[in-house]
């Protein structure tokens, strides 16, 4: 069964999700990667209200056609790079959803459990498909400072697909697979 999630993301709905569930997201998403995370971590002011929102680790391919931004490709980027910043951002801004690929570390997992946030894995590289679920580019911030790939894009999406891989109870699918594959590896190498 696919769970529908809609912005703003209510805490009780987020706490209800468990690892392995597939979700379909509608409403607002904010993109951000290294530059934005570092900026927010260092106490920079966010130009958008992140509360009960979702941060999507992505750097889209966007072009401007007749004054309107069109996103041509927008798959997730590796989330682990934001590990040093993520927990503080979850705490400070009460972000409820993180979307990216590859999972995150202990600090983020703990912050998810403590403050009520989930990590969703989108299919890495599925850029055209995920771009199709973007219905509008509402705004873009830090375009000239950070460049297009690192800017903060506010997007409206519909039916954006992902799967819960870290839930608000602190369970992590990434950790589970890493452990089970390690056990097999040791057997294969005997």
């Amino acid at each position: 069964m696919i769970r529908e999630l809609e912005y703003p993301f209510a805490l009780n709905k987020i706490r209800d999700l468990t690892v392995g569930q597939r979700v379909s997201i509608s409403g607002k998403l904010f993109t951000g990667r290294d530059r934005l995370h570092k900026y927010l971590f260092d106490g920079g002011k966010s130009p958008v209200d992140l509360k009960d929102g979702a941060i999507y680790h992505a750097g889209p391919v966007a072009i401007r056609r007749d004054g309107v931004w069109v996103v041509k490709a927008a798959g997730p980027t590796t989330s682990m790079r934001e590990e040093p910043y993520m927990a503080k951002i979850i705490e400070h801004y009460r972000v409820r959803v993180i979307i990216g690929k590859g999972g995150m570390g202990e600090a983020t997992r703990n912050a998810c459990a403590k403050y009520g946030c989930v990590y969703l894995q989108a299919v890495g590289g599925a850029a055209s498909l995920l771009a199709e679920s973007i219905k509008a580019v509402n705004s873009v911030s830090f375009l000239s400072e950070f460049g297009a790939a690192e800017a903060l894009w506010e997007l409206t999406v519909k039916g954006f697909r992902a799967v819960v891989t870290i839930d608000a109870a602190g369970r992590s699918l990434h950790k589970r697979i890493e452990r089970s594959s390690r056990r097999v590896l040791e057997k294969v190498l005997k």
Binding site: G59, V61, K72, V188
Partner: protein, 294 residues
Amino acid sequence: MRNGHWEKNLFELIRRTSVDLPSDVEAGIKRALKKERKDSHAYWVLETILENAAISRRNDTPLCQDTGTLTFYFGVPVGFDTNAIVAHTRAAVAKATRQGYLRQNTIDSVSGASYDTNIGSASPVFVFQQQARKKVEVRLIMKGGGSENVGLQYSLPDFSINANRDLEGVRRCILDAVWRAQGNGCAPGVVGVCVGGDRATGYKQSKELFLRRLPDRSRVKALARLEERIMKDVEKLGIGPMGLGGRTTLLGVKIDALSRLPASFFVTVSYMCWAFRRRGVLLGSEGGVHRWLY
């Protein structure tokens, strides 16, 4: 060299590479799909990947937003003007960036500034080789950062993984690299492995193996056997597409060997994600298309 058709056809090569997944890779993903349970994440991911490939073709949009490092492999006739074709290629890259087939994806490593059109030092990358024939062969590989970051080079013996200087040691390196990568290189990928060489040629060779089609086997018998063995071992790991579990962790493995110094024994593993962007073209002496490769 007059411009003629050069720039136009190099641009077309970039466009195709960015939007059109090669048929051998797509066939590999379809085969993998059949092995996965219908209700699994693995099935869902592979299905999504195939759908994405179809949408990219239909909408003429990049397969993945990380349009990667562009490496152009040229095979050129004797006396060919390589400076001129470098200039044409750079112009084609700039145009493909402006048109959204490539992301603004190149950063100045000191200042952190982003380049507008992906033209920088070592961007794109050029590899030239002289060939006896009159035609110009151009092959392009686009490789994203997620997959590049999980590449590894081992110096044997490596006691941490019990890898000695033999093929069993090579097997240990490859399996260790695949395990470390988990889903982070956007599994299911293809690994290119070079045994021997020095640190630089090891990586170079491991990446050139991505020019080979998925079904080929190494011409060296012992390496072909190792390729098969690795595929069987990897299936058991259960890492699966995007690291969410499943049988399909790799679509293929390619192994090759270079000579080495007595003192060194490198095993270099490069990882190519499922968004395996590889295209090629054979151009005539005026830059017209003779035929498309792959």
